[in-house]
């Protein structure tokens, strides 16, 4: 069999090897850059400077961290399950890198163009939950176990709104091929017609990534790191790598599915490099908002987290699908369909905002420690009897 990479015919194994190396190389460098940028951006949000000592303006901080992590002891607790413990990082790490395959960087250029690209991405993205459970179970540590269970509960709960919101968009774009979805947005990006799925996707994405404010499974102040407690050195760094890689990939996905990827606003005439730049800018914006949310919103409780997913996001996502179906089935002229979609979806965003607002500002019932009226009545009865 023959494959071709960048127009050059070659052995299919060589082709595959080049693609895999490309993924791993690009992802590692991107993740190291992302960690540095996150630290810098977060520092500015807190009016600090962030890393400045390593290299010019701290640019080599990630390199220093990586070297430190590689050089550290790869420690395993005595009672840990050796095989499961050692393999858990790969189960988190590999699915995330598999997601990279279907991401459209430019129109028509990705590692592999898949007809069911969106479906593939969503299917692969949930496999890493297995890795968390493995890590939590095998660590022989209560925090790890609790953290893993929380992570699983959270990931499964938010998987559904994530998938449903993307389905709503796929209905509008009439395709599951990411390339087609991007091409479809050459004039107006999907976020205009489908703001509600964008909102749901963004929130569910934060939860899937275990980013604040949904980081209860790894929250340092309560779970001391969750499933990663017992990990150190290179294995811990693989978890970390996977986390940031997932953030990068999902940001690219948001850029492609909702913000028009390389197609909007200049269409297909643009060269692939400019399209790549456009995608990168959009993904960076999404990541900036992720950092921004991290710097702002405090961590949720687990009950708030679950009820928000099951009681708000999921019903609203289903409603969006039903409404989309009702609008699209009549095959009205394009403009009317689009306006209707935008109106209903916008109303949905307002509704979700109202629900969140109402719940945040709801008066909290206070625990009643002592029923003062009953106590007073009893005291009165006693004094009556004494008289």
């Amino acid at each position: 069999m023959r494959g071709s990479f960048a127009g050059i015919e070659m052995n299919i194994w060589l082709d595959g090897l080049i693609r895999v190396l490309l993924i791993v190389g690009v992802m590692t460098v991107v993740v190291m850059g992302l960690i540095y940028i996150e630290r810098k951006v977060l520092a500015r949000f807190q009016m600090r400077l962030g890393p400045t000592r390593t290299g010019p303006v701290g640019l080599l901080q990630s390199v220093a961290d990586a070297l430190k992590l590689v050089a550290k002891e790869d420690f395993r607790p005595a009672k840990a399950d050796p095989w499961v413990f050692e393999f858990a990082p790969y189960f988190v790490f590999v699915p995330i890198f598999l997601m990279f395959v279907a991401i459209p960087f430019t129109l028509g250029w990705q590692i592999r163009v898949l007809d069911l690209g969106l479906f593939y991405l969503l299917a692969v993205s949930s496999v890493n939950i297995v890795g968390w459970v493995m890590a939590g179970w095998s660590s022989d540590n209560r925090y790890a176990m609790l953290g893993a269970l929380r992570a699983v509960a959270q990931a499964i709960s938010y998987e559904l709104p994530l998938v449903m919101s993307v389905i709503a968009v796929a209905m509008v774009a009439n395709s599951l091929n990411l390339n087609e979805i991007v091409r479809d947005q050459a004039v107006v990006p999907n976020i205009v017609w489908q703001p509600l799925p964008f909102f749901i996707f963004f929130v569910a994405m934060l939860a899937e990534l275990n980013r604040p404010p949904f980081d209860i499974s790894v929250g340092e102040s309560e779970m001391v790191g969750g499933p990663y407690v017992e990990y150190s050195g290179i294995r811990w760094s693989m978890f970390f790598l996977a986390e940031y890689a997932a953030m990068f990939i999902l940001s690219l996905l948001v850029a492609a599915v909702f913000l028009g990827g390389g197609a909007w606003p200049f269409g297909e005439e643009l060269g692939p490099l400019w399209q790549l730049l456009l995608t990168a800018i959009k993904a960076s914006l999404v990541m900036f908002v992720i950092f921004w949310v991290r710097a702002t919103v405090p961590r949720l409780r687990i009950d708030q987290l679950m009820s928000f997913s099951w009681k708000v996001l999921l019903p609203v996502a289903f409603a969006q699908i039903v409404v989309n179906g009702l609008i699209l089935v009549y095959e009205m002229p394009n403009a009317a369909t689009n306006v209707l979609l935008a109106l209903t979806s916008g109303a949905g965003v307002v509704f979700v905002g109202w629900v969140i607002n109402r719940n945040i500002n709801r008066p909290r019932p206070r625990p009643v420690l002592l029923n003062r009226a009953a106590v007073a009545a009893a005291a009165g009865a006693r004094s009556e009897a004494a008289r």
Partner: protein, 156 residues
């Protein structure tokens, strides 16, 4: 939701502000004139000798006994043909900066305004590898005042 958006705008405003961090070893904040580092001796430029007459007032007042003072007859006094009006002058002076607790008492008891608290960054950045290096002798104690590094300060 409105609250979340408000807080997002607050964090954005902090993002756009200038960081408050000062990168200390490269960048020194200006110290106030009455900043209180370790005590040093002052140099009387007009007589070209220290103000200190070695009267032991500071040594006696020092609560942690970090000072050692030795006095001598001033070789530059008018009675022996010099110009100075100081009959006695400091011979040797040691302050153990490792003991000093920067209480300012020596400055307050000095009858000749001959000792002052260092108000330069040089008075703070005194780290050494050996405690013995923190015992300052007379030339070291006088050098900052003599070279004019010390900022003139107003007594409270």
């Amino acid at each position: 939701m409105i609250g979340i958006l408000k807080s997002m705008s607050v964090t954005m405003s902090t993002f756009l502000r200038k960081p408050v961090t000062r990168e200390y070893p490269e960048m020194h904040r200006e110290l106030p004139e009455r900043d209180r580092a370790f005590p040093i001796l002052l140099w009387a430029a007009e007589d070209n000798e220290p103000f200190c007459t070695g009267c032991h007032a500071c040594e006696r007042a020092c609560p942690v006994e970090c000072m050692t003072v030795l006095m001598k007859d001033n070789p530059n006094h008018k009675s022996v043909g010099g110009e100075s009006s100081r009959r006695k002058i400091i011979d040797k002076f040691w302050i153990d900066y490792a003991r000093c607790m920067r209480c300012n008492i020596c400055v307050e008891v000095c009858n000749f305004d001959a000792i002052a608290m260092n108000n330069t960054w040089g008075g703070h950045e005194k780290s050494v590898y050996d405690r013995a290096d923190l015992v300052m002798d007379l030339p070291q104690l006088l050098s900052q005042s003599r070279s004019g590094e010390l900022k003139p300060w107003v007594a409270p």
